[in-house]
């Protein structure tokens, strides 16, 4: 029995084979099983996309047409608090362009056992506060420059520091780690920074004053807001601002499920395959939220195109389109002059292998019925 099924292992996807294994009745006769396998194989073959099908264009149409029904520029507030999420068309454009900087980067941090259950709400809150980035400007009340000796005075807010469990020593440590070349004096209520080099001018002092305001004292860089939320029956932390690499370092975090909406970051941290899946998930989320119905496979194709090269490429003239081999196809997308002049400079050859070029010269496009051609091997005359 196993033989008959394993015979088809190269011809059918593993999921289908497994499905058959789990569902056939025990003690089925070999002839019956063979018949089943043949029927499944035939169905599978018929379900495949036929050669020459314009899958890309159909995907484009299938995503583009419902896109016209999307409410333009909708911004929703996701549930509680003032957490902003880009949804709708702007978000789709953001994903497809492969942007590195998002309008509203967000993370969903899943937690390990004791935290996820939410039994100890205070622990959860503390963890959230640990993740949230605290900058020096958040705990300082005043930054002043002493004009006489170019030192910088930072007045600290004791109460805020207490709430965040910060001591002067921790603050000094954090500053000295991120701003080099300064001596820091602890005056209890304030800190005084003095440059080690004697040639410092007022201008330099001013620059460091601005710089230290943004020094991260506590938490994870880039995470500007945290929000513990109950999702189904566990607690997760939603953040505004994203820093996947650093969050995954935390012990309390479930690294398997924690995710961000910044696809570029996913590619950097988890690799291109994860990025591909993230694109699919994110686009599908938007389309679903708009109440539209698009087959995932169209989105998968788009995600594949963005990721085939091994790095994340947006569907822009700098990304996927720049990879096209045909000059005419590239020129017909955006900035035609740039492409034609560059092609002329190096003497590029366009083999007219794809659709757009052939439409331009009015030849049958190599797709659908225009794809198959006849190959004839002419007999050599000498052999006659």
């Amino acid at each position: 029995m196993a033989d008959i099924i394993s015979e088809y292992e190269d011809m059918l996807p593993p999921k289908i084979i497994e499905g058959i294994r789990n569902n056939i009745p025990k003690g089925i006769s070999d002839t019956k099983l063979k018949k089943i396998m043949e029927a499944v194989h035939l169905e599978y073959k018929n379900a495949r996309v036929t050669p020459g099908e314009a899958v890309g264009l159909i995907a484009a149409e299938s995503i583009g047409e419902p896109g016209t029904q999307m409410t333009l520029n909708t911004f929703h507030f996701a549930g509680v608090a003032e957490m902003n999420v880009t949804l709708g068309l702007p978000r789709i454009i953001e994903i497809l362009d492969g942007r590195k900087e998002l309008d509203n980067p967000m993370m969903e941090i899943y937690l390990k056992k004791p935290y996820a259950s939410g039994k100890n709400i205070n622990d959860l809150k503390n963890l959230a506060l640990q993740i949230k980035e605290t900058k020096l400007r958040d705990i300082a009340t005043e930054f002043t420059i002493n004009i006489a000796d170019f030192t910088i005075d930072v007045k600290l807010d004791r109460e805020k520091m207490k709430a965040l469990e910060l001591t002067n020593g921790k603050v000094i440590d954090a500053i000295s780690k991120q701003i080099k070349g300064h001596n820091i004096k602890d005056n209890k209520e304030s800190l005084t920074l003095k440059a080690r080099s004697k040639e410092d001018t007022f201008n330099d002092a001013y620059k460091t004053k601005e710089k230290i305001k943004a020094v991260t004292i506590k938490g994870i860089k880039g995470v500007s807001q945290v929000l513990p939320v109950k999702r189904e029956d566990e607690f997760i932390i939603i953040t505004a601002g994203s820093n996947l690499a650093d969050v995954l370092q935390l012990e309390e975090v479930d690294a398997y499920r924690t995710t961000t909406n910044n696809i570029f970051e996913i590619e950097q941290v988890l690799g291109i395959e994860a990025a591909r899946q993230a694109i699919i998930n994110e686009i599908f989320k938007v389309i679903e939220s708009q109440g539209l119905n698009v087959d995932v496979r169209h989105i998968m194709l788009v995600a594949d195109t963005m990721c085939v090269s091994g790095t994340l490429k947006g569907i822009t003239r700098y990304g996927v389109v720049s990879e096209k081999s045909s000059v005419l196809a590239r020129a017909s997308f955006e900035t035609p002059i740039k492409h034609i002049i560059n092609a002329a400079l190096v003497g590029e050859v366009d083999n007219l292998n794809s659709v757009v070029e052939n439409v331009m010269v009015n030849q049958p496009v190599p797709i659908g019925t225009g794809l198959p051609s006849l190959t004839v091997k002419p007999a050599k005359e000498k052999e006659k």
């Binding site: 034609i340 002329a344 009015n362 659908g368 225009g370």
Partner: protein, 600 residues
């Protein structure tokens, strides 16, 4: 302390703004300061805005003091007797004009019965808040506001009796309805605006039912009998203008029947309507291509060579003729002179337009639709009393649009037609619906307005009662005759050799980028090629240098401009647009080399 601004310019400040504003208004009502002034106290910003600039929209209201309007019965009687006028009331401060800003400070009562001591003003009539066109919608307060907007917009597009001296006017591109009527259900605005002098529609019998699905999606069905009796019949006037222009060198256009040796002479047949003066005669039936005004112009360029040659005297043909798809009857001809003293000929052609499939009609409630079917009178449904509707309107047009006034107008129109009187349907001040229904009952009809109807083709009684009534319908200026267009072969553009664009140029309908995509998505590769074959060209290409060669049909020889005659030259089929692009590359100094390869 409040700041005071006059026409947005800072003037100064006052201690007590409320008192100041009140005083200003009192002085204005007294006539001590101009009544063209409006004062607005912005409490939030604590500033007073005084406006006297032009271009503010203002509207009149009756002034109210301590809950009592200043306008009394005495004034009304005086008005009736013509002892005083509207402007007297305004001068006395009984009526005043408020702009949008001052209205913010006013408390305006809708009706006199609503007045309380807080009110500062009273509406003269609630109708005053509507514009002219919107006031013409009967029972407008029963409609959704968007429908009221649409209804008044539609009325502006209705064909009507636009000027009583139309017969001697040389209006260009106008329509005139032939049997216009006053609406049976009217509003006070019809009276005020003398609507009877420029009516725009007709009172017809409307049934709300479906008829074989030909009134789906807002279509309407017309009774052919009604059309034959003059429903929706209109005349379209089309102009033709010619001027004897003067050119440099004392040359001048000449209006005449062109000589046969004139450059661009059409055919004798085209000039057949012209009389000796080169102008067409009235009542001539003209069709496309026919010349209406014959004209010749002097040759365009007089080079030194041509001045002496014989051909130089050849004049150009520049007659005015009917364009593609146009036809009509010459109606009126005017010979005159323009400001420059040039001879000017204007010819007006008329074209009778009977309602046809696709013409647009509307009621006054934004219920527009196009004609979907014209049914012979014998096939139309008829009521028990033998009434045959002129128009069948789809019931699906009612629920989502909620034009209740449309239904009330039908009942009101029915009552009006049966009782032989006009019904006042003024918005907010109309004859009440209940009274109409009662009257309808007393006239021997069902209170609901529904009637038993019979299938016109089989004579069977319809199971449902059909709602029938009389309405005022308008024919809109969008008629198929002005829009119908098709093309198989036709003119092409000079530059790209692609079909021209637009109906006037007998153009094609573009198969655009997205339409192209649908062909690709179907994999219909060869069909796509065929569609785009409109600018297909065959060009010779030199095999060695890949540049378009020259084919000399006279010597039956091909040669390459670069490589000469002793090279392989092959004909290829490409789109002319592509050839054009290659040429443009060349002009940019880019060498587009074609590498030929056998397709097979």
């Amino acid at each position: 302390m409040a700041e005071v601004y006059l026409n947005s310019k800072f003037l100064g400040s006052v201690e007590n703004p409320i008192e100041f504003v009140q005083k200003m208004r009192e002085e204005r009502r007294k006539g001590a300061i101009t009544e063209n002034l409006n004062v607005f106290y912005n409490e939030r910003a604590n500033e007073i805005q005084i406006e006297s600039s032009k271009g503010r929209a203002r509207r009149p209201l009756i002034v109210v003091k301590d809950g009592v309007p200043l306008l009394t019965e005495r004034h009304l009687k005086q008005l009736e007797k013509n002892e005083i006028s509207w402007s007297d009331l305004a001068k006395q401060g009984i009526i005043e004009y408020l702009d949008a800003a001052e209205e913010e400070n006013a408390v305006v009562a809708f009706f006199e019965s609503d007045l309380t001591p807080e009110h500062t003003h009273l509406e003269i009539t609630p109708l005053a808040m509507l514009g002219y066109c919107t006031s013409l919608v009967p029972y407008g307060n029963f409609n959704q506001s968007t429908r009221l907007n649409a209804g008044s917009k539609n009325q502006k597009q209705a064909l009507g009796f636009y000027a009583s001296n139309f017969a001697v006017r040389m209006d260009m591109d106008v329509n005139l309805i032939q049997y216009p009527q006053l609406p049976v259900v009217n509003t006070i605005m019809h009276e005020i605006s003398d609507y009877g002098k420029h009516p725009a529609g007709q009172n017809i019998v409307v049934a709300i039912m479906s008829y074989k699905g030909y009134n789906m999606e807002d279509a309407i069905i017309l009774n052919r009998g009604s059309i034959e009796r003059g429903l929706g019949r209109s005349t379209y006037f089309r102009p033709a203008v010619a001027e004897e222009l003067r050119y440099a060198g004392g040359l001048i256009d000449e209006i005449c029947i062109p000589d046969k040796d004139v450059k661009g002479y059409k055919t004798e047949k085209d000039y057949r309507f012209l009389e000796d003066d080169g102008i067409i005669y009235p009542e001539a039936k003209v069709r496309e291509g026919d010349v209406v005004i014959g004209k010749t112009s002097p040759p365009r360029f007089l080079s030194s060579m041509e001045e002496y040659s014989l051909a130089a005297s050849t004049r150009r043909e520049s007659s005015v003729n009917l364009k593609h798809g146009e036809e009509g009857i010459v109606d009126f001809i005017l010979l005159t002179e323009n400001e420059e003293g040039n001879k000017l000929i204007q010819v007006r052609m008329r074209d009778e337009r009977l309602p046809e499939l696709g013409d647009k009609f509307t009621s006054r409630h934004g219920q527009k639709g196009v004609v979907g079917l014209i049914v012979p009178q014998s096939d139309m449904p008829f009521s028990a009393s033998g009434i045959i509707p002129d128009l069948i309107f789809s019931p699906h047009g009612i629920p989502s649009r909620m034009t209740i006034a449309h239904l009330i107008e039908m009942i009101a129109g029915k009552v009006g037609a049966l009782a032989g009187r006009y019904i006042n349907g003024t918005t907010f001040d109309a004859e009440p619906e209940e009274r109409l229904r009662k009257e309808l009952l007393s006239l021997g009809f069902r209170e609901s307005g529904a009637e038993t109807m019979y299938n016109g083709q089989t004579g069977e009684q319809y199971r449902a009662k059909i709602f029938v009534g009389n309405m005022y319908y308008l024919k809109l200026k969008h008629m198929v005759a002005n829009k119908i267009h098709s093309r198989a072969r036709g003119p092409i553009q000079l530059l790209t050799r692609q079909p021209t664009e637009g109906r006037a140029k007998e153009g094609g309908l573009r198969l655009g980028e997205m339409e192209k995509d649908t062909f690709v998505a179907h994999g219909a590769s060869l069909l796509l090629k065929e569609r785009f074959d409109s600018d297909r060209t065959v060009v010779p290409v030199c095999e060695s240098c890949g540049v378009i060669a020259i084919k000399d049909n006279y010597r039956n020889k091909s040669y390459c401009p670069v490589c000469g005659e002793n090279v392989e030259i092959h004909d290829i089929e490409i789109s002319y647009a592509f050839k054009l692009m290659l040429d443009e590359f060349k002009s940019l100094g880019i060498y587009p080399k074609l590498q030929l390869e056998s397709k097979y």
